[in-house]
Amino acid sequence: MGAVEVLNDSSSLYASDLVENVDLSDMNLVQTLRKALTSVQTGDSDLYNEIVEVMSRDVKDFRADFDAVAQLETVLKALSCSVSCIDIVHHYKLLSALFGMKLWDHNPNVMDALVNLVISLAVTSGKYLDSCLNMLIKNFLPPPWVIKNLSNPRILNKKTEVFARVHAAFLKISILVPLTPSRLVPMLSQNMPKIHRKDLLMVIYVENLLKLENSSIGRVGGSVILNVVMERLRDLDVEIGWDDIPQDDSRGMFDMELEDAVEGTIDEGDEFPVGPLSQDTSGGSIVVSELLDKLMVIAFEHLESCQNDGRLDEVFELLFQSFENFVLDTYKSKFSQFLMFYACSLDPENCGVKFASKLMDIFLSSRKSPATRRSAVAYLASFLARGKFLPVSFVASMLKRLMDECVGYCRTCNGDIRPEAHLIFFSGCQAIMYVLCFRMRSILDVPRLRSELTPLESILTHKLDPLSVCIPSVVAEFLRQAKADGLFIVSDSFIFNNQLESELSGSFGGCDKLKTFFPFDPCLLKSSNSFISPNFIYWSMVRAPYDEDEEDDFDAEVIVNGDEDSEEGEDEDVDYAMNKMSITPKHSFKNQMMERDRLLRMPSRIRPSTSPESL
């Protein structure tokens, strides 16, 4: 039904109600034009050259000269009726003039005439299809004067006019030439702005790509389009070093990140974002992080519209494939994975569950490479820990599967106790512990789920000794919570042993990036974060029972200086018991102030406890 409406437009001079009284001058014009075109072959090209001249006129000539504009419009309209007379060899000049024209340079009437001509050419002969599509795609790349003035309402208006026509043209062409999408999609990826261009051109282009994905063309080329977009997001992401992210002075954010650092998300040698760096924003170019931020926001909005149209499920399948191709194995990817997070938050029962299950399948699949499997379980752990929209029962069931797998592994492992031989097992253990750091409370609150955690003790006390191989901060936090919540009996000496730096963990953590890989750590891009934060579990939201008895340098010491804490381990118990009996409110203002001071006094450069000073 829509097709019929689309096709019955006034692309012909023979307007429906005028057929009987067709304007003779229009008919004459078309006849003259046809004669001009056909006579080129016989050598008489005067009129033809005039036509070419009209079309090749410089845009500046049109500014004041309304006659010239009207002439151009008439010529274009007449040409639409004469496409059968256009020959690819003899009318080469005409065609190159036509394909060099841009919609941005003309008023809406001329735009319509031009687009109709291009559509007629594309559908009438297969020879012109590719050139026509190319010409239309080039209009997705606006000229510099548009990009520099995007906030101007007149320019925004123009932008809407041009893009509406281009998208409508693609639709019309693909109705008449069914194989258009398969020809169009490779061209879309070829015409993508190069990554070196750090301006809003990329944002505009990606916006249009995603709009195409939503249309009938997306049914054929959706996976390619999403691949292209995901790849570009990833490429920009890995270009961003930690220094490039502009920081604001709001303490909340600062606190949050440091608290997460406390939790154990440090990477060896990485510096924390210290202050805003001045970047050269002249000439319309923007900082890479800002560019990535804008692209992510567009992608989020696209996902929202997919959800509103009810097609998020099928888009998610394609999205996961491109995630698996481009992002899963990219260790340096910091923010592009949040695309998946957001998609899951829009539809937790379908997409959220699917994402976790697919990651689990990759982890369990013996056919994938070990690095991929470890990366998958790191993603799974971070996802289960941070996804506010995931029901606790689901998290518990995923943990159970992980534990069953680890238990099975423990049972069948051979005598080789070198850590290098059991990397995947250790990643699994670390994943379980990481998730429990965030979710222990909520899981233990449900008695049925609490019983499912019983195999954990046997895994952790196995001779492979995961507690000494996994990253110390996670282990320490987990043990602390386990003890406080009474998950299992943890002797103080056990904690003590683990807070000492063991040789195994030290040398291991030094060269193994995947151990400190927590992909869904808070998103540091401001606009994107506003989409993510309502569904995100921050570390500060997780209230562990030992929080109340803070001593000033407690947590900091754990990371930087493992040795000293051992002595305070004994006192901790007494204080905890005391606090339980006290009547002072647990989170008094005084405590918070001390907390803040403590955090602010932390050094900005934190080295993991492999440094020799701690031993």
Binding site: D17, V19, C81, V83, S84, G126, L176, V177, L179, R183
Partner: protein
């Protein structure tokens, strides 16, 4: 409709070793990558295939990646409209300058006004354009009509057919078949009268 043919072919499909777990799926993947493309060896556009592997033995190629070649017996449905053959398609757009149709759901065909015989005249009724035959008022070409046309050329890259309605046996399929039936009946009547 001419232009469709069924061919039997014995192919050798080379498969990467990583796909050795599910060979049949790999074969289908390879063959599917050829769909809706013109293939010179098949001499036509592959529309559909039916593959069967007779022998479980495969020849391993020596080299960096030891691809192995599997013999596959296939039946292929090919579309190859030769010039001057007849094809049929549904009209999706009519204007005074051209008729656009879609053949077999994937191939675009166009008949420009110079290739429409004089018999047909363009008329607009109720906002919709159509071509009506001057000699047979019931012979109408409008949106949704199944049209039989003669192929002038076939662009293999884009699957684009340039067609012609000049020959007498082209036009609306329903009308042509009905018309030829009536012609058959009148012929029989004539013969009966003659004999009688």
């Amino acid at each position: 409709m001419e232009g469709l043919k069924l061919s039997e072919a014995e192919l050798m499909v080379y498969i990467h070793p990583s796909k050795s777990r599910n060979v049949f799926q790999a074969i289908c993947r390879e063959l599917s990558s050829l769909l809706f493309q013109y293939n010179e060896s098949f001499d036509g556009v592959l529309l559909a295939y039916d593959a069967s592997v007779k022998s479980k033995q495969a020849k391993i190629l020596s080299g960096l990646h030891p691809y192995f070649g599997v013999r596959v017996n296939t039946r292929l449905l090919l579309f190859d409209p030769k010039p001057n053959s007849l094809v049929e398609g549904e009209i999706v757009k009519i204007s005074a300058e051209s008729i656009h149709l879609i053949v077999l759901g994937f191939s675009a065909a166009v008949v420009t006004d110079v290739d429409i015989r004089e018999e047909f005249k363009y008329r607009v009724r109720d906002g919709e354009g159509s071509f009506v035959s001057r000699s047979h008022k019931r012979h109408v070409l409008k949106l949704g009509t199944m049209l039989r046309l003669q192929v002038q050329s076939f662009d293999e890259e884009v699957m684009h057919i340039a067609g012609s309605l000049i020959p007498e046996n082209t036009g609306c399929v329903k009308w042509l078949e009905k018309h030829s039936e009536e012609a058959l009946h009148t012929d029989r009547d004539h013969k009966r009268r003659k004999l009688a």
